[in-house]
């Protein structure tokens, strides 16, 4: 009798384990992050502490920038409203921990895609929304017109915990120049220290230099050297281990770029439903079942284009019209001489 009870309980326990296992895997397919986001009603997005053109808040607390638009696109796709985003400003040092410890669900903060970040610390990069490279800013009257004019003893201000720190070493080492790195946690302090004359040069991504230059007391006294010393593909990052969420963020970004490629804009998106081009019709959800594959409805991409706009609109609004980098350079579509090239949505 006692034996039977014992055996029965073990069977029940086994079933219980099996049952929880199957429900677990089903829930995993539906994406935990997606479920949580829909339950909360907003997308949790990690951004910079203020980098004009990429992620910057105005006096009223409204965030704008190309990095911000990626999060808005995801909110439009997942929740139907691009304004339902909660932004968390993060320093370079805090950003990855915030993502892996579940404080945020997307990190869209001018973050460089590297192998060790992608593979080693529990992160997954989903794409590139800005192709950048590291450059140097110097005082115009210094007579330095190229990186070859730097001499031993040069002091360089930069941000702590970035690829910039590593590139800077590679660069100065390859030139055999002894230099003095002065690293700050916040970009504002880097700018203030460089402005005061603590450093001979300020080095970071060229887009960052262009954006921070306007914060200097006399922006016209400074210039960015023509050379680029590194590749800095910047893009949004998600936690490793939720491939459905990863796909949603990746294809939200891709949708914006592909929309520009096919000439679909926020103003003409609705009309494009009746386009002759099947690729365009797929893009605005008038053909195919692409939304279902991501666990979303079929209007998801249309909402992104209507509410946020395509990549070109976002770039123009945030980076070109603000005078930061009027020339798109490599961030032009592949069809127009740039290197923006995304896989087809089909």
């Amino acid at each position: 009798m006692f034996k039977l009870v014992k055996r029965l309980t073990s069977v029940v326990a086994m079933f219980a384990v099996l049952f929880t296992f199957t429900t677990e895997t089903m829930a995993a397919k539906k994406s935990k992050t997606l479920k949580n986001t829909q339950k909360k009603g907003f997308v949790r997005c990690g951004v910079s502490q203020g980098l004009p053109g990429f992620s910057n808040a105005d006096a009223a607390g409204n965030w704008t920038g190309v990095d911000v638009d990626v999060c808005r696109a995801v909110a439009a796709a997942v929740l139907g409203d691009a304004s339902k985003v909660k932004f968390t400003p993060l320093s370079a040092k805090e950003r990855f921990t915030a993502l892996t410890s579940n404080e945020i669900d997307i990190l869209s903060r001018n973050t460089t895609w590297t192998l060790s970040r992608d593979a080693d610390i529990g992160l997954t990069f989903v794409g590139v929304n800005f192709y950048d490279g590291q450059g140097f800013m110097v005082r115009k009257n210094s007579g330095i017109s190229s990186v070859n004019d730097f001499k031993a003893g040069v002091s360089a201000c930069t941000n702590l915990g970035t690829t910039t720190e590593l590139n800077m070493r590679d660069f100065f080492n390859s030139k055999g120049i002894k230099y003095e790195p002065v690293t700050f946690e916040k970009a504002d302090e880097v700018v203030a220290a460089y402005d005061a004359g603590r450093c001979d040069t300020y080095t970071t991504d060229k887009s960052g230099l262009a954006a921070q230059r306007i914060k200097l007391s006399n922006p016209d006294d400074h210039m960015v050297l023509p050379e680029t010393i590194s590749k800095e593909p910047l893009g949004p990052v998600v936690r490793q281990g939720d491939s459905v969420w990863e796909d949603i963020v990746r294809w939200s970004l891709n949708t914006m770029i592909e929309a520009e490629e096919y000439g679909v804009t926020s103003s003409n998106a609705d009309m494009m439903k009746t386009s002759d081009n099947p690729a365009v019709k797929r893009l605005v959800g008038a053909e195919g079942e692409l939304g279902a594959a991501l666990g979303l409805d079929n209007e998801w991409s249309l909402r992104i284009i209507k509410q946020v706009g395509n990549y070109g609109e976002s770039y123009k609004r945030n980076i070109a019209d603000t005078g930061i980098l009027p020339d798109r350079g490599p961030n032009e579509l592949w069809t127009k001489g740039g290197i923006l090239y995304v896989p087809p949505a089909r």
């Binding site: 702590l160 946690e185 302090e189």
Partner: protein, 381 residues
Amino acid sequence: MNFKKILPQLLTLVVVILVFGFFSYNAQVNMENRGITFGYGFLSQESSFDVQFSLIEYDGSHSYFRAYLVGLLNTILVSVIGIIFATIIGVVVGIARLSSNYLIERTAAIYVEFFRNIPLLLQIFFWYFAALRALPLPEKAEPMFGVFFLTIKGFFIPAFIWNNLDIFIYSVIAAIIAIFFVRAYAKKKQENQGTQTPVLLISIGLLIILPLLSFLLGGVDASIEIPVIEQLSKTSFTFKGGLKLPPELISLALALSLYTATFIAECVRAGVQGVSKGQKEAAASIGLTPNQVLKLVVMPQALRIIIPPTTNQYLNLTKNSSLAAAIAYPDLVLVFAGTALMQTGRAIEIVSITMLTYLTLSITISIFMNWYNKKIAIKEK
């Protein structure tokens, strides 16, 4: 009966173990889910980042462990400088607060109230950016005594170039040991015969003669290297040669010592006021000079009150030095828990090492101060 006594303690222990177990299990599961590995192997990898100021030889080709040592030594350096200056300023201000001179007393009081009521981080920013704004560019710096240059890029001072430095250091250590023996002998002599020995003069003499002998006989040789201005480009200059103290170190040490000195000043004032008036009067009545009263009667008793709270201030100063990260002084937090953490992504490992390091530093200071406290405490027989 006995079991009843230890039951609450056992339960507490079980709860503590369960809580820790729960958190470490959770961390393990979460890290596994996200493909994060755990281990301290990264410490021997090449760090590949540079640091602007280091007490030991270091560049990016050294290991992360070496970077940790660089940060640790920089933390110890700024803490030691801070503690020394905070103590000096604190004692002076504390005694000034007891002065019968109204002006001195008020000035000291205003200093204490002003500096202890402003958040430390703000003070650090103030000294750093104020210094950056106020200090001259290298090419405009006026030399002090012809060889010291205080500029926006740092304080450049002459450096000694040594031959056989180790022999010189041994001679100084030998002098210090000899001084200890002389002091012990002088004390014994006074207790036995009642005669005094000029200990101070002998000590100074030893400190001069022994190192001097190392120059004459030990082959020690030192030359002085004076910083020389160097042009980097048309408008930017720096100094070459000599020793450079970065402005970050100077402003951090300044902020830390000015802030902590206010608390030490209050400890000192409390200690001196804690010695009863009767003691001073009694000492004066047996014919001790005011200096002797202070040295032999007041201070030994005041120190017993001063030491324990001052220990706390030393600990605070050491821990507060971690605010260095805000102004680019490469301390343990900036180098190791900052750059190294970012480049490796090993948050749990690095933060745990950093916490243990601060704990060890604090406990070392505590042990030393407790030893000193015991030494000066009343020995009851």
